[in-house]
């Protein structure tokens, strides 16, 4: 299987609207109960869908789609970090990029700082981009090798007309370098002269230049060595505490996510299967997929042995071809008839703990 999500036809997608409606109920619960809502979340995503047409048509001649995201809803409170975890191809980067309006959604709404930004375009979208920034996974390819660090960090300030020239940006660049723990002498040097961890700091300084209130960090430490990973994780935590920046922290490393997040969302094949307060998810995981993920993490401690893997649970993603039921069906040890027929929706299972599973 090359596609990890599920495929479905137009007709079956319409069948899925019943699920979408009950999804709305669950979300209204989210609003009234989650502490995030009380202070007015910085970001609120509702019913987000992204799909790509597949080349082939179905037997009945209908267009078939690959649903990368299906009815994704969550909120992020001001100053909070939401960790987003899931396997490769589950749609993590797609969520991040859709929020930043770099990928067009096919359903749902995105509300940022109280404003619906789903269809924003032109100058308002450009202005909005100052408030939301992206930090990339790869500190090697995300910085322009021909620009020195001064220009790399100053560029967004110049592009957005906050300073008149690169020279004018100098004091701000030096302050930003200092903020991310880099010496002023770094300004005149080029990316290849720095280690991976230092490059990631430069990338963070650039993202901070426009004083954003929200940052999507897409696997920001995955490419770094353990001995420098902790430095960058700590830096992002400090920024969150001192500057009140909210983060969507995307990662497949469940241990890192536990350290940096206040809340965590678990994504499987484009659907959030479990979301809530960090310790609820890690200490009382209820969705069988979350349990599978957590049980597969090798602990750096030889006295804690990995449990033998359940073949069925641990197999590669088996997409549900009809799109009507649960997308975890093919791998699930708890599957029953209802799981085949109806898409599960997020239901409250405790204080800030939501699970989408018929049998959890």
């Amino acid at each position: 299987m090359t596609f990890l999500g599920s495929t479905m036809t137009n007709a079956s997608h319409q069948g899925g609207f019943a699920g979408a409606a009950s999804g709305a109920e669950a979300r209204s619960g989210l609003e009234s109960e989650s502490p995030a809502a009380a202070d007015g979340p910085i970001l609120s995503v509702k019913g987000l869908g992204v799909r790509y047409p597949l080349g082939k048509r179905s037997f009945w001649g209908e267009r078939t789609y690959f649903e990368v995201l299906d009815d994704v809803s969550f909120e992020i409170a001001r100053g909070e970090t939401l960790g987003l975890v899931g396997e490769s191809g589950s749609g993590k980067s797609t969520i991040g990029r859709t929020i930043l309006r770099r990928i067009e959604r096919t359903a749902g709404t995105i509300t940022f700082e109280g404003r619906d930004i789903s269809d924003l375009g032109g100058e308002p979208l450009r202005k909005l981009r100052r408030r939301m920034q992206l930090i990339f996974q790869d500190p090697y390819s995300s910085l322009n090798p021909r620009m020195n660090v001064m220009s790399i960090i100053a560029e967004p300030l110049v592009v957005h007309g906050i300073v008149g020239s690169f020279a004018e940006a100098r004091p701000q660049v030096l302050a930003l370098l200092d903020r991310v723990g880099m010496p002023a002498s770094a300004a005149e040097r080029y990316p290849h002269q720095f280690s991976g961890g230092q490059r990631q700091r430069i990338g963070i300084a650039r993202a901070l230049a426009l004083k954003p209130s929200f940052i999507v960090a897409d696997e920001p430490v995955s490419a770094l060595d353990v001995s420098v990973r902790a430095q960058v994780v700590n830096l992002m935590q400090e920024l969150q505490e001192e500057l009140g920046i909210s983060f969507l922290f995307i990662a497949h490393d469940l241990s890192v996510v536990r350290h940096i997040s206040q809340r965590v969302a678990i994504l499987n094949s484009g659907q959030i299967v479990e979301i809530g307060a960090r310790d609820a998810i890690y200490e009382r995981p209820l969705h069988p997929y979350t349990q599978t993920l957590l049980s597969a993490v090798p602990e750096p401690d030889p006295t804690i042995k990995l449990a033998r893997q359940d073949r069925k649970r641990a197999g590669g993603p088996v997409p549900d071809a009809t799109g009507t039921g649960c997308r975890f069906l093919g791998r699930c040890p708890l599957a029953s008839d209802v799981c085949r027929e109806k898409k599960p929706v997020l239901e409250p299972k405790g204080v800030d703990h939501w699970v989408a599973c018929w049998n959890a």
């Binding site: 490769s88 353990v226 420098v228 902790a230 430095q231 700590n234 993920l293 030889p302 006295t303 590669g316």
Partner: protein, 324 residues
């Protein structure tokens, strides 16, 4: 440890490997020594660029210009793999007694050949079996590495398989000739955590069933803790410490090992701040003399600018440090 014990399958002795590049001479390995006993899994951990793959490539005879083995020896079953005689010995054993799984699973399969053809080719080439025997053996191997409906898999192309399945195929090919030593360079790094857990389990099972010796290269301390008997920690082309796995994790002797363990996030720990080691590893173009961890070490003194001694820290355990 210069005395070679009888059951040491592989011995690397004071290996120096250099790469002559435009930027300067990169000192990839700077006097590395290790031994692998029969039936043991030796884990090699270290940062990116610490020389783990260069070590593996040296054993597999894959160091090529601009790289050069400038000093030291590699012995398999007591016979050197270096020099003209060693090279012809190496050609005889590699792929049979000595096999390797490479760092990038996606590039080690031929995209244009079916899975069956690739496995059978290995068997025919190395074991001189007939085509029918090779097919039979390929089916056994696929079953052994846990691939369901092996008959239909044989006619599939690599791109039709998931990452985890591809890695199983690569393992099947590596063990096709029942090697005595398997070198696995980051065999699970490209895989999702659930698939990684299965592949580690498979490697552990095969190791026991075939009494295989394994060198498992990884930067993931979790992988080491779950699969290895003994661990060697590398940094900047040198060994920092080696110890049985329990001891390394419970009583690390070297400051680098201790720092690495402390800065590794743990699943069961929700404390907010991670411990972190300041700084970064040194450049290998003009590496500092003495302890390579000097810049980052909390316990450094003036004498650490000289090469640290190998201090015995237990049975089969030592640390290269002035202040153990």
């Amino acid at each position: 440890m210069s005395a070679v014990a009888e059951d040491d399958l592989l011995v690397i002795d004071d290996l120096h490997v250099q790469f002559d590049t435009r930027a300067g001479v990169i000192h990839g390995l700077r006097g590395l020594s290790l031994t692998v006993a029969r039936g043991e899994t030796l884990g090699i951990v270290g940062e990116s660029g610490s020389g783990k793959s260069v070590m593996a490539q040296s054993v597999m005879g894959l160091i090529d210009t601009p790289g050069e083995i400038v000093r030291g020896d590699i012995r398999f079953k007591g016979r050197s793999l270096l020099g003209p005689k060693g090279r012809s010995y190496g050609r005889k054993i590699r792929g049979r007694e000595l096999a390797m799984i490479f760092q990038n699973p996606m590039t080690s399969l031929n995209p244009l050949m079916t899975i069956g053809a690739q496995i059978e080719e290995v068997i025919v080439h190395h074991l001189g079996k007939s085509a029918r025997e090779a097919r039979q053996r390929a089916l056994e191997l696929l079953d052994l590495v846990g691939i369901t409906s092996p008959v239909s898999r044989l006619s599939q192309l690599p791109h039709e398989l998931s990452g985890g399945m591809k890695q199983r195929i690569i393992i099947a090919m590596a063990i096709a000739c029942e090697p005595e030593l398997l070198i696995a360079d980051e065999p699970t790094t490209a895989l999702d955590v659930t698939v990684q857990a299965q592949i580690l389990e498979l490697i552990n099972d095969i190791q026991k069933a075939m009494n295989l010796s394994i060198i498992l290269i990884t930067h993931d301390l979790g992988v080491v803790a779950q699969s290895c008997h003994r661990v060697m920690v590398m940094y900047a082309g040198k060994e920092m410490e080696e110890a049985p796995v329990g001891q390394l994790f419970s009583r690390p002797a070297h400051y680098y090992t201790a720092g690495l363990l402390r800065s590794t996030p743990r699943l069961r720990d929700s404390s907010d701040r991670l411990f972190s080691i300041d700084g970064a590893p040194p450049s290998l173009i003009d590496p500092p003399t003495g302890c390579p961890f000097f810049d980052r070490c909390e316990a450094r003194t003036e004498e650490c600018r000289m090469d640290p001694p190998a201090v015995t820290t237990g049975n089969q355990a030592k640390a290269m440090c002035w202040h153990v």
